[in-house]
């Protein structure tokens, strides 16, 4: 009796038909670099991250490595992983990052911060120059994120790198026009950054493109907190943006950039080696995993470019991306 039932059950096992999402949208491809620099293409997906059974993932998420012209904001634990001689010169830093597999160099002009060294246009240009001459990778330059200062230093930098399609950031809600205009004039790519809000992200993309930056020259940064510091918001915003793009919303169909590296290294878990609970584990191991997990999560949620900080994180995340791409 039991056997016959089992037999019946076996024959009624429904065949597994893999449901495939029929998306209509495609994330735009953005070409970074060129004119003598290596060119890196980001975006282009017609499916959610790595789900290549139902769409194309023509380009892997790209790994950018952050170098700073004033490294003092980074904790010693991170700086020592690069070496003191390296981090005191953005050129050498970029060069080493390139050797370790960086695909893009993110130069953050921290020295220009009005609360810090408050350096000016000349220092910023010189930092950019150093990186440009040290490596042939595409470049991303982010200002101190103080509106007036960003405008002051990023415009001459745009000029300096004319035509090399560097990425300039950040265009934000109340300060996007100048950077956007500089991108248009010198054929660069603008980062449109919004604070964890899908509508604002959409709106800013519209505004930046309205002013004349083609959507093929915009990356959007919907912001993120590191692991433990609100990363769940970023996961959901990225997923929603990517889904909206795949559903055919042209305005959100631009590649997503996130900065899990620098976000991690400003948090306590990655900064403090003593006087923390034993259950946090050893500092080096904990801090590195903190960056890795922040990056892993956001890459799985739709990030097309991630900025990392630690040399080992670059190695592990690149290896992970290659495997996720089925390589």
């Amino acid at each position: 009796m039991l056997d016959s039932i089992k037999f019946k059950l076996e024959v009624v096992v429904p065949e597994v038909e893999i449901p495939k999402e029929k998306w209509t949208g495609r994330v735009r491809e953005v070409k970074i670099g060129g004119k003598g620099r290596k060119e890196v293409v980001v975006g282009g997906a017609t499916a959610m991250p790595f789900l290549d059974f139902e769409g194309e993932i023509p380009n892997p998420p790209r790994v950018a490595v952050e170098v700073r012209d004033d490294p003092s904001g980074f904790p010693p634990g991170l700086l020592s992983s690069w070496g003191d001689d390296v981090v005191n010169d953005v050129g050498s830093w970029a060069k080493k990052a390139a050797e370790l597999g960086a695909e893009i160099i993110t130069l953050r002009l921290t020295s220009a911060h009005p609360e810090g060294q408050n350096t000016g246009v000349e220092e910023a240009k010189s930092a950019v120059d150093k990186v440009l001459s040290a490596v042939d990778l595409p470049l991303m330059v982010i200002g101190p994120e103080i509106a007036d200062k960003d405008n002051e230093i990023l415009v001459p930098i745009a000029d300096l790198a004319e035509g090399q399609r560097i990425v300039l950031g950040n265009c934000v809600e109340n300060n996007y026009k100048t950077i956007a205009a500089a991108c248009i004039a010198a054929n660069h790519i603008a980062i449109a950054k919004t604070p964890l809000d899908i509508n604002l992200a959409k709106q800013l993309n519209v505004q930046v493109s309205d002013i004349g930056v083609p959507l093929e020259s915009i990356l959007m940064d919907a912001d993120m907190g590191a692991l433990g510091y609100g990363i769940e918001y970023a996961i959901s915003i990225d997923e929603r943006l990517k889904l909206a793009a795949l559903m055919g919303d042209s305005v959100t169909a631009v590649p997503i950039i996130n900065h899990p590296g620098p976000e991690t290294w400003r948090q306590k878990e990655a900064k403090v080696s003593e006087g923390v609970p034993e259950s946090w584990g050893g500092y080096d191991e904990r801090a590195l995993y903190w960056e890795e997990l922040s990056a892993t999560s956001i890459i799985h949620s739709g990030a097309d470019v991630v900025t990392l900080c630690h040399p080992k994180a670059v190695e592990y995340i690149k290896s992970m991306i290659a495997k996720l791409m089925g390589q």
């Binding site: 789900l51 433990g228 959901s236 929603r240 259950s279 946090w280 191991e285 495997k323």
Partner: protein, 452 residues
């Protein structure tokens, strides 16, 4: 298709007897429709109602429970692909694998270390969830005694890993009333494993060695044989394939493909070539669709990372993480250190503590209970006001912590200054920057306040 509250109401007795705990049948129907209640609470529900409701209400993914004397570990019952669509419900248990070939000392050490591990975050305590004991020796009695030994040292839930039904049977003899997870029924042993699962009322994993077709077949076989609590192992291990197959299984489950209407188990260590990769795989599985995760590597740093990620991923998007109210420390503050105030919306707190951290100046942060609302939202909702601030200052004895009696209000609610001064006549109320990134500059400009 889920039933609406009205449709359910029509099936209820409409007597408003209140025995379900709700004042009206309508209120109960709405709860049922939202999936927040169970029809069994209605003592007068008709058979028709039960049948229709259970058919409509059968969740796309079964909740499976692993039981020990003191613990009940429930997993599964997920309803969405993406957390923003509703939320992820049951945080995937993280277990650590031990093998019966390990020396008794090593085994003891691991069990003790993992078992005792706990970490605090946002005022909550997190631990790992159990052990997976593996029959590496191939010997039934070795396995049984290993399981018995683990069982004697911990009451955490267990997964028993063996391919030989005899080993499994021997181990199950030793677990008393616990109902560990049986791993795994394969196409070679599903009949015997299924019988064990039924005999001991244990949940059981079905493991495919050949893709999703085989997985569906095994799942149907197991349920056909009367095993209700099933967990799926699609068999894929590497980063790419596990993402793809877990996604497909979850998607099919949500589309009510019954053979896949169960939780998924994963073994990140088996697909990894290094510890780092195992951790990355585990992170992927936390975010993407594993419901039980068995780790091979353990260290406090790994555990802290993965538990934090799980907390984040499983946070209800509608109910953001809240902190306990109280005075928090950044660094080791003393009586001269600044005292900032903010709400218990975790993101607000993190934004501020991160910036304070960056200043290098140890500080106190008074967290006011605003039911998880951010500063401006709480203020406009009347949940962050002078009375509340004063009450928290007193409740947590802020006056004993600092000697300068200065309190820094978030700049966005400068308007509260006057009233707070009235409520706290002994205090100087300072207005801080509007946004957290301004804290560095603010501390520098006002350094004399805290440097005497």
């Amino acid at each position: 298709m889920a039933l609406t509250g009205i449709q359910i109401y029509k099936l209820l007795p409409k007597t408003n007897c209140k025995e379900c705990g709700y004042p009206t049948c309508m209120a109960f129907a709405m709860k049922l429709a939202a999936g927040q209640e169970d029809l069994s609470k209605c003592p007068y529900a008709s058979d028709e109602a039960k049948e229709k409701l259970s058919a409509a209400a059968k969740p796309p993914m079964r909740a499976v429970t692993i039981v020990t004397n003191d613990h009940q570990l429930t997993t599964g019952a997920e309803l969405v692909m993406y957390r923003h669509q509703k939320k992820f419900f049951n945080p995937a248990p993280l277990m650590v694998r031990v093998k019966d070939t390990a020396s008794a000392d090593d085994l003891n050490e691991t069990v003790e270390e993992v078992g005792n591990y706990s970490v605090d975050r946002v005022g909550m305590t997190f631990t790992l969830d159990g052990f997976a004991v593996q029959n590496d020796s191939g010997d039934a009695s070795t396995f049984a005694s290993c399981v018995e030994s683990v069982k004697s040292k911990t009451d955490m839930p267990l997964t028993l890993i063996a391919t030989d039904p005899n080993s499994m049977s021997a181990a199950l003899e030793k677990v008393g009333d616990s109902r560990p997870l049986i791993y795994a029924a394969t196409k070679d042993n599903i009949d015997q494993m299924g019988q064990l699962a039924k005999k001991y009322s244990c949940p059981m994993v079905v493991k495919s060695s050949d893709g999703l077709d085989e997985l569906a077949e095994l799942s149907e076989k197991a349920s056909g044989a009367g095993v209700e609590d099933i967990i799926l192992d699609p068999g894929d291990r590497d980063l790419h394939n596990s993402l793809v197959s877990f996604t497909q299984v979850r998607r099919l489950a949500l589309r009510k493909f019954e053979p896949f209407g169960y939780p998924i188990i994963s073994f990140p260590g088996e697909g990894a070539s290094s510890v780092e990769e195992e951790v990355n795989l585990a992170a992927q599985h936390i975010a993407k669709y594993a419901n039980v995760i068995v780790m091979d590597s353990f260290s406090p740093a790994i555990a802290y990372n993965l538990l934090t990620l799980r907390l984040n991923v499983y946070t209800d998007p509608q109910a953001p993480i809240q902190l306990q109210s109280g005075i928090y420390q950044v660094g080791s503050p003393d009586e001269k250190s600044p005292l900032c105030i903010t709400t218990n919306y975790a993101l607000s707190y993190f934004a501020i503590s991160g910036e304070v951290e960056a200043t290098g100046r140890p500080s106190w942060i008074l967290v006011v209970d605003t039911e998880g609302l951010s500063v401006l939202t709480a203020w406009s909702a009347g949940k962050f006001d002078a009375d509340g601030i004063a009450a928290h200052i007193k409740q947590f004895d802020a006056a004993d912590k600092v000697n300068h009696n200065s309190l820094i209000l978030p700049g966005g609610v400068a308007i509260l200054k006057g009233e707070t001064e009235e409520n706290l006549p002994d205090w100087k109320i300072l207005v801080g920057p509007r946004e957290a990134p301004g804290i560095g500059g603010y501390f520098r400009q006002n350094a004399q306040i805290w440097e005497g």
